[in-house]
């Protein structure tokens, strides 16, 4: 068993990765609550944005700043367009149908990325990764700080937004009952469009951070969303705060298992195991409550 000294650097990497999972998770939950769509293309949108930024920097001579902005905006624009075009016709369909439709978008984007950029090795290094500080002999770079800090800020801000603004209240109302909310005069499509846009911007930002923290690889970034989905499932697609905590736990457990060689190679199962355990526990409690009520 490794010593605590051996574990220390993994705490940093776990917090950073968990932070980005949280960022993605919050975006997924907010969109789901407002539109009923579980966006499985979240990772692919971010991956495409990151590769686009890489292209602009390395082949079109763009400065990093504007290219990063394009990456984030790309996420917002593509997601908003998808929401505008496919949201209304699919609005009355089953959530499973809506989710599978976004899987279609993910596969189209993944195919386009493979076609445009092939599988050659490339990288994205954010300027913040070149600077850092030491904590207890562990180097922490500023991208890791941003990843975690940004996740905290976005989670808290989104929570306050949903609670204290008219638009946020409208989103929460939509989550409860779309028909009644529309009857009350809430501009449903405008509210949904805002949710698509905001969620897409988060996808772009998460893609940018992950391209540095994980690697600039289309398939990896596309399917990394699974870890975030696990966090949202633990939160039962309801609470962004629980999503945040679950995402951090997923990232931390995943990282802390790494030096334990006997189980290290199974660590990719972490999101599934945690989600399954959480769902079983929650399901058990619900049954208990129902049984108690019946009795």
């Amino acid at each position: 068993m490794p010593s605590f000294e051996d574990f220390k650097p993994f705490i940093v990497t776990g917090l950073a990765l968990g932070g980005v999972y949280a960022l993605q998770g919050v975006g997924i939950v907010v969109l789901y609550r407002a539109t009923g769509v579980l966006n499985l293309a979240f990772g692919a949108v971010g991956a495409f944005g990151a590769l686009l930024a890489w292209q602009l920097i390395n082949h079109n001579g763009w400065a990093q700043g504007p290219a990063f902005v394009v990456c984030i905006l790309f996420g917002g624009v593509v997601t908003l367009l998808y929401g505008l075009l496919f949201g209304p016709p699919l609005a009355a369909r089953d959530p499973l149908v809506k989710a599978v439709a976004t899987l279609g978008l993910a596969l189209i984007l993944l195919g386009a990325m493979s076609w445009i950029w092939s599988d050659k090795a490339r990288s994205m290094v954010l300027p913040s990764s070149n600077h850092g500080f030491e904590v207890s002999n562990v180097l922490v770079n500023y991208t890791q700080v941003i990843a975690f800090g940004f996740a905290v800020v976005i989670t808290v801000t989104t929570g306050l937004f949903l609670r204290f603004t008219n638009l946020g209240t409208a989103m929460r109302a939509l989550a409860n009952d779309r028909e009644i909310t529309a009857t009350l005069g809430v501009p449903v499509r405008r509210v949904e469009a805002f949710a698509w846009l905001g969620s897409g911007l988060l996808a772009g930002a998460a893609g940018l951070l992950l391209s540095n923290l994980v690697g600039l690889d289309a398939a990896t970034l596309t399917f990394l969303v699974i870890s975030s989905l696990a966090a949202t499932l633990i939160a039962r697609l309801r609470s962004i705060y629980v999503t945040f905590i679950a995402a951090i736990v997923v990232g931390m457990v995943n990282a802390l298992i790494t030096p334990i060689l006997s189980i290290s190679q199974y660590r990719d199962m972490t999101p599934f195991v945690l989600a399954t355990v959480a769902l079983l526990v929650l399901s058990g409690r619900k049954n208990q409550a129902l049984t108690g009520r019946a009795g």
């Binding site: 082949h59 050659k120 990764s129 499509r189 923290l213």
Partner: protein, 452 residues
């Protein structure tokens, strides 16, 4: 349409136009990406290499071959994420060059290759199709993940001596297969040797967690044992999702006097190396090594200059801007005939070119006009002492239970966005039993490599 509807429609149009502008930037730059790939797909490409003369492809410069075609074929992996077609398209380019310059005694080479998606049934079917329907008389220029494993018994039964460049152990461990490269196991051996020479007192060896890793792991284990250097082996799932943690794990395992050696595809190796850089780990071990896949300019460019001279990469083939005659002809052929070689200069096209050269020498050695399956494969088997500056030592086939004619390698390292030679040719350790067996075969018949 109401006012609100028109507003939304206008918004959609504006967003669509904006997206189109962004994507058109991407589309136009795709061309430059292809250009970049053409100039940097493989090992180092320094400025202005010597211009080659493509008339050297054949024996009758400028005379098109018009006789009965000699049919050759191959099977190549092409699937999402794995495209090995550059070897076959380069072989095709060289055959076209040969055909434009006299062919084989006036006979053009007709080349057909099929792509497969790692489906054994499909691969076996394609092998039968090549022989029974296409009537090919030689299997040359293939590069596949599992073709050797699937087809080697079939080739042996037919008396076919395949010239391929594969990944499966059967490409290097069976009597009817010989490759211009040495495959991941022996390349990992070479990378471990380089890391130890650079001062590593312990090796942390990591590779992707895919079938066949046990076979590869045995090589570095044998090499380090012979060097009295402890080794700790790891397997990590790909695609790697947390490179930072893996980099920390490897550096902790190697220790400050140790070395880390990677055997991954370029994108995965890059993730670990970059994570090590960002975590400040690059200088916390004595040396970093990588097997041949890292030997591409894409990796060197992506890593930046921080790894210059620090990362030791085993190179089974010479750098692509080498000045020798074969390297010069290779570049000339690619320039004039290689429009379909999407990766351009690089290890895959070097292997395709070399394999095509081997078979052309074999065909030219046939007396008379008998280009049957039997005569062609006998000629292929008899190829020996083929001198090429693309390999460290002469290539050969010969009659042997296994073939690893490429068993002497270079070490390269990144240098300002390119891979350059760090160590000249050195023998892969014969502590690896298969290499020991091959050296015994070479010692028994020195004519294979030019001895007497």
């Amino acid at each position: 349409m109401g006012k609100r509807g028109r507003t939304w429609a206008a918004l959609v149009v504006v967003l669509a136009v904006g997206l189109a502008v962004v994507l058109s930037a991407c589309g136009s730059s795709n061309k430059s990406n292809t250009t970049a790939a053409t100039s940097g797909g493989g090992a180092a490409t320094n400025a202005a290499p010597a211009a080659g003369d493509v008339t050297k492809c054949g024996t009758k410069p400028g005379t098109k071959a018009t006789g009965t075609p000699i049919k050759l074929g191959a099977i190549v992996t092409k699937q999402p994420g794995t495209d090995f077609t550059d070897g076959a398209t380069t072989a095709q380019a060289y055959f076209n060059c040969v055909n434009d310059n006299g062919g084989i005694n006036g006979h053009p080479i007709q080349y057909k290759y099929y792509t497969e998606q790692t489906d054994p049934a499909q691969i076996a079917g394609l092998a039968h199709k090549l022989i029974e329907t296409d009537k090919v008389v030689g299997i040359v220029g293939g590069f596949s993940i599992i073709e050797c494993a699937v087809d080697h018994k079939y080739w042996e039964g037919l008396g076919i001596y395949e010239i391929d460049a594969g990944i499966a152990p059967e490409c290097y461990g069976t009597p009817n297969s010989s490759a211009p490269n040495m495959g991941p196991r022996y390349s990992s051996d070479g990378a471990v040797q380089a890391a130890v020479r650079a001062g590593a007192k312990k090796i942390a060896f990591d590779q992707s967690n895919v079938p066949g890793t046990g076979y590869i792991a045995a090589g570095p284990a044998a090499v380090t044992k012979s060097l009295n250097v402890p080794i700790q082996q790891f397997k990590d799932n790909v695609p790697i999702q947390d490179a930072n943690s893996i980099a920390i794990k490897l550096v902790q395992a190697a220790g400050s006097d140790g070395g880390v050696v990677l055997n991954f595809t370029p994108p995965e190796a890059l993730k670990i190396l970059q994570a090590a850089q960002q975590q400040g780990l690059a200088d916390r071990v004595k040396s970093w090594g990588c097997s041949t896949p890292c030997n591409t300019d894409f990796v060197a460019k992506a890593l930046g200059t921080q790894w210059d001279g620090k990362l030791l990469v085993n190179a089974e083939l010479n750098v692509t801007d080498a000045p020798g005659p074969q390297s010069t002809l290779y570049r000339a052929v690619l320039k004039q005939y290689g429009k379909n070689v999407t990766g351009g200069l690089g290890s895959f096209s070097q292997m395709g070119f070399s394999m095509a050269q081997f078979v052309v020498q074999a065909l030219n050695s046939i007396k008379g006009e008998d280009y049957s399956l039997k005569s062609v494969n006998t000629a292929i088997k008899n190829v020996k002492n083929f001198k090429t500056d693309i390999l460290c030592k002469p290539w050969y086939y010969g009659d042997a239970p296994l073939h690893i004619p490429n068993n002497t390698d270079w070490t390269t390292t990144p240098n300002k966005g390119k891979m350059v030679i760090k160590e000249q040719c050195f023998p892969i350790s014969d502590a690896d039993p298969a290499i020991k067996q091959v050296r015994a075969i070479e010692a028994k018949d020195p004519s294979l490599t030019g001895g007497s």
